[in-house]
Amino acid sequence: MASLASSVRRVTKYKIVWPLLAMAILYLFNLIVVPGFFKIEVIDGHLYGSLVDVLNRGTPLIIMAIGMALVIALEGIDISVGSVLAIAGSMAIFMLEGHSLWVAILASLVIGLLCGLWNGMLVSILGIQPMVATLILLTVGRGIAQLITNGQILTTTNKGYEFIGKGYFLGLPFAVYIAAAVFIIIYLLKTKTAFGLFLEATGANRKSSEYAGVKPRAIFMSAYAICGLLAATAGIIYSSNLSSADANNAGLWYELDAILAVVIGGTSMRGGRFYLGGTVIGAIFIQSLTTTIYSLGVPPESILLVKAFVVILVCLIQSDAFRQMLTFKRKVTTS
């Protein structure tokens, strides 16, 4: 018993345990309540089913949340990512008229990068608080997207572009490979270069890091730039999946899901340590939750309420203080 308790303690030291636990519970619930949730069919050599659906629909969120994790590690926040997603999607589909696929994708990524650099400049050089700084692009971003689309919903029939968000490769949705690639690149950046150390040090104590020779401005700029670039990547997948760009509604409220995914993943909003694996799990959890709620047939008007309730539960599980309260009560009842 004692060894079990100590191994439990050892395991719970890892931050990733809690989002994994939440996900396990959610899937257990699905196993019992939602028939066919785990069923995977092969049609034309492609995998189909709720699980594949979660992965496929979750890719924009996963990619966006990874970028958000870098910004949150700097005690920052980027609430403009939903708008950047809309801008990037609009840009790509607008450029497809008369330009090649690659030019469209490049233009879309460049505009996302510019949005990120703009945010980074406001935060690191002008010293504006991240929430306020990115609020500007949140508001004005959808306006810019509307200018690009001329107020219309643009559509495309470019097969190459549609493949990004709808195509299948080796049985799995192509977008899943993009998300995996993004994760691996950022993970390597974190663990195989000094970027992770500099980012965490700057996020935890900017002054000390600066005096130790780290350039905080460069770190801020790159984190926000990557965040913008990844939001644009998400925008391309999102618009490709729908074959259209809607300046007003594309990625609406996605920024909040992205922030939530990072927090569920164990990264503190106060900056410092950040967890990429946890963030991905957090994003998949949120997408799974959404899919579960739809499969359950919860009336649309209650969906947000149910979601909020589950999120509160997850946050409580994560809170050390809450867990301590639980164990404390247990001790009292046993004694």
């Binding site: 000094a194 150390l197 965490e200 935890a204 104590n205 890091s209 005096y211 130790a212 020779g213 340590r273």
Partner: protein, 511 residues
Amino acid sequence: MSTKILLQLEGVSKEFPGVKALSGVDLCLRKGEIHALMGENGAGKSTLIKVMTGVYKRDSGVMKLNGKEIQPKSPLEAQQLGISTVYQEVNLCPNLSVAENIFIGRQPRKWGMIDWETMNRRSEELLARLDLYIDVKQQLSMYSVAIQQMVAIARAVDISSGILILDEPTSSLDTNEVKQLFSLMKKLREEGMGILFVTHFLDQVYEVTDRITVLRNGTLVGEYKTEELSRTQLVSHMIGREWNPDELSGEKSNKTASAEQFLRANGLSKKGSINPFDLTIRKGEVLGLAGLLGSGRTEIARLIFGIDKSDSGVLELGEEKIAAMSPQKAIKYGFGFCPEDRKVEGIVGELTIRENIILALQAKNGLFSYIQTKKQKEIAQEYIELLKVKTPGTEQRIDNLSGGNQQKVILARWLATQPRLLILDEPTRGIDVGSKTEIRKLIFNLAASGISILIISAELEELVNCCDRIVVLRDRVQIGEIAGSDMNENRIMQMIAEGAGVYGKSGVIGA
């Protein structure tokens, strides 16, 4: 002196993962006494205080308040029991008024609203008891750190019912302010209060305390009456070996500074911070900066390291002339800087010891020449052993270490970059006698190995002991320089007091 016991601790133990911070410690605080709690950094003083104030829960042992056992679970609960504490760093809200700070969380009310009049009046009365007459309606940040400290004490005294814990309250005060604080402490003792006083200054212990409890490595060494314990005995108890005051001076005479010039500051200045100054640091030389708080000591260090940008003047490094310095550049040239405020400007609290040590070296190497984790661990371990940092391993969070050990980690951070010049701003502030001796020894060894050192210290005795040369500052002006046998505390104090002969001349430059 009354012998009634206010607070008694018996066999208190507290363990952290991998560290036994306290084992079986006793402490007895009596009515109407000032009781010193002494020990090296890492001896367990802070932990013991945190157990008493409810920040930590003790693992075992008994704590009795007026004979009744207590178990405070939070600082608030300890406060309600009548144990109030003033910490080393001022724990107040700088953006609120003095009166608000004193009554925060317990504002007097009238018809459900805050009764400002009563609050301000009572604050004035309270501060008057401390001989402090200031405008209590002003924002706290308007006042000096010393006054803020007094406000914190006023608040603690008002909350307390008999027990006051002062955790190194004097480290940011000047001599007069310390005197003022001591007369207040004596007054409170007359009123029957039991005061637990933590300090690193031996003189202060002998000036004001009645009893001394000494801790070492988390265990109790003993409780002594101050008058019956000599200073040498006290220091021996604290560091656990015989202490020899001549140990340092012996080593110093062995080394000779080379004549080779390393760095020259030519007319460097920054408006409102420091008037133009000229400095030369030779290779392997220990150069001291002496002066009172606000005399421009730290400002010189910040200009040389490039944290502040100079308005005029150049730094000459061999043939090179550098007008605009920055920390990154300074590090490339082989400078290292241990800042005065370790917590805010030195350590990165959330990261491990390894990451803290490696940070500057990695920044010097750049983003892409990443030092592998295994290599990082080796480097960290090497310096942990070299500097005798007390820790179970390289992967501990640095904020779990005591102040002295944190300082050693910051030193290790710079040593890992193979520096040519180390700027040490108050390297031994808030550090116990044993670590102080170790760090001073280290300074000699570094200088002997050819590293130049610029050291700032408020303790003149430390400068006289460590330095080859001392530059004296006053009111942001460089007023003189002494070296060799001229260096003694009296001479420096005299220079500061009289402004030396050069003061007039420099004054003209400054004007």
